[in-house]
Symmetry: C2
Subunit: 282 residues, 2 copies
């Protein structure tokens, strides 16, 4: 297989090359021969939805995900209504872009609130309220469990098992799960949970867990191969579920953000070809 | 109940007052009216086991834990033998001190090793090899699951459920679990796992999860009440299991270490009386 063909399932998540605008990132993906892009709403807003759709169509890229919906753990009614409105808007965008999934990050504990179970329940209820709207627009809502390092301030859904417990209340076409190696690599029994997930796995995101953790824990992610995650084994487990979607590289990392984006894409493509692509099923 | 009586189950883990020697810490506990102390092997070595036993006996304090055994995930035979010898020595010390448990921290992935499952299996096998030795000396081995933030470099056993899966292979008197709020507060279904743990819970350690995480993730722990953990609810869950042991405050935190230790003990006693003690069963 040529390198170019081998990169057909690789997707660049825009956060990996944070300094690129959406047009830059689309061009960067095309130049590198990638098959897809993971789009962030912030950069989407800069060019507008219509122009973004036009650029994506022209490029021939798939949109492997739209990031992000969610952040709906608030106990305040007005804030909850605002979060729901934001999520409906995100669903509209995901539909227009024909994104494989709208990534949902639950959000953390509201300020001063220590009731984690209640926050998890509110997140579940918020998803339930969004499903009919997403269903009508054929948008899959992808629940992303987050590493417990973020349980307090970013994502109260902490394991793939927990994300699946929620997703399984709904039809697979409506609600799936986003599997990000950074978030779930440590989870006991993760291979069994992936198997359980099966067709609900709507996004496979990759980046590494590096130590020592950088000072800003939000930027603690590393390039595949720089940390502790066993990508061949994890990728085989994902492939065994029947997953045939894109593989999206999402790395929040200050050093990478300071590097020329095209070089970062080069490096990620190289690591993907070495550590991930050979272990994906065709 | 007088404050003094109310503090009878409170234990100072030596890491909370890192600048105190063992004699200092014992005196600090006595002065503050605490019932117990959690001893670290490093500070124990400074005074020697015989003198430590004498000081503890004189003080009337219970030893709620000896920290730490474990660190046995190596795949190297020579290193594994050395780890086993260190752990036997720790068991001897725990027996002499009549410690409620010897805390076992599994250890992280060996350098360059990415096989988390194999490391977890080696930790389990290492525990299995220690059990007869500990049993003869009537020492309980307390498996401490660690927050996944430490899965790579400190402790590959990541959840209370996983710790119980291992502990349940052995008699409850031989192998228990250490429940530290910092490590398991986020765990989905933790109340059910505590109930499952029952008499296997041999240590209840407390400290808070604070955000933003300090730059050094090892020192990311906070005083109870300063972070996101719901101590009343968690403590009620622990009490419902029938736990009647000590409550050990173990806080690794650079700011606390810079403060006068007696003040730290004062603060922790106050927070304990407010957030924990009222929710313990008598």
């Amino acid at each position: 297989m040529s390198d170019r063909a081998a990169l057909s399932r690789l997707s660049l998540n825009q956060r990996t090359t944070a300094s690129w605008s959406l047009p830059d990132a689309i061009q960067g993906c095309v130049d590198a021969g990638l098959g897809a892009i993971g789009i962030w709403r912030e950069q989407l807003a800069e060019v507008g939805l219509d122009e973004a759709c036009r650029l994506v169509d022209e490029s021939g890229l798939r949109v492997s995900s739209l990031c992000r919906g969610g952040f709906f753990t608030t106990a305040d009614r007005t804030e909850a209504a605002a979060a729901e409105a934001r999520n409906r808007e995100a669903i509209d965008e995901a539909a227009a872009l024909n994104a494989a999934t709208l990534v949902l990050v639950a959000g953390g504990l509201p300020p001063g609130d220590r009731d984690l179970e209640a926050a998890r329940n509110r997140a579940t209820q918020a998803i339930e309220r969004l499903v009919p709207y997403a269903h009508e627009r054929r948008v899959n809502l992808g629940i992303e469990p987050m590493n417990p390092i973020y349980a307090a301030d970013r994502g109260v859904i902490s394991t793939l098992a927990q994300a699946l417990d929620i997703a399984e209340r709904f039809a697979p076409a409506d609600v799936g799960v986003v599997v990000d190696t950074f978030h779930v690599w440590w989870e006991p029994g993760v291979a069994e949970q992936l198997q359980r997930g099966g067709q609900r796995i709507v996004s496979y995101q990759i980046c590494d867990w590096i130590t020592p953790l950088p000072a800003d824990s939000l930027l603690a992610r590393g390039m595949m191969g720089d940390g502790h995650i066993d990508f061949p084994t994890f990728t085989r487990s994902v492939a065994r579920t029947g997953y045939r979607g894109d593989v999206e590289v999402e790395i929040f990392n200050a050093e990478l953000w300071a590097a020329p984006p095209a070089e970062v894409v080069d490096t990620m493509a190289g690591r993907y070809l070495e550590l991930v692509q050979p272990y994906l099923a065709e």
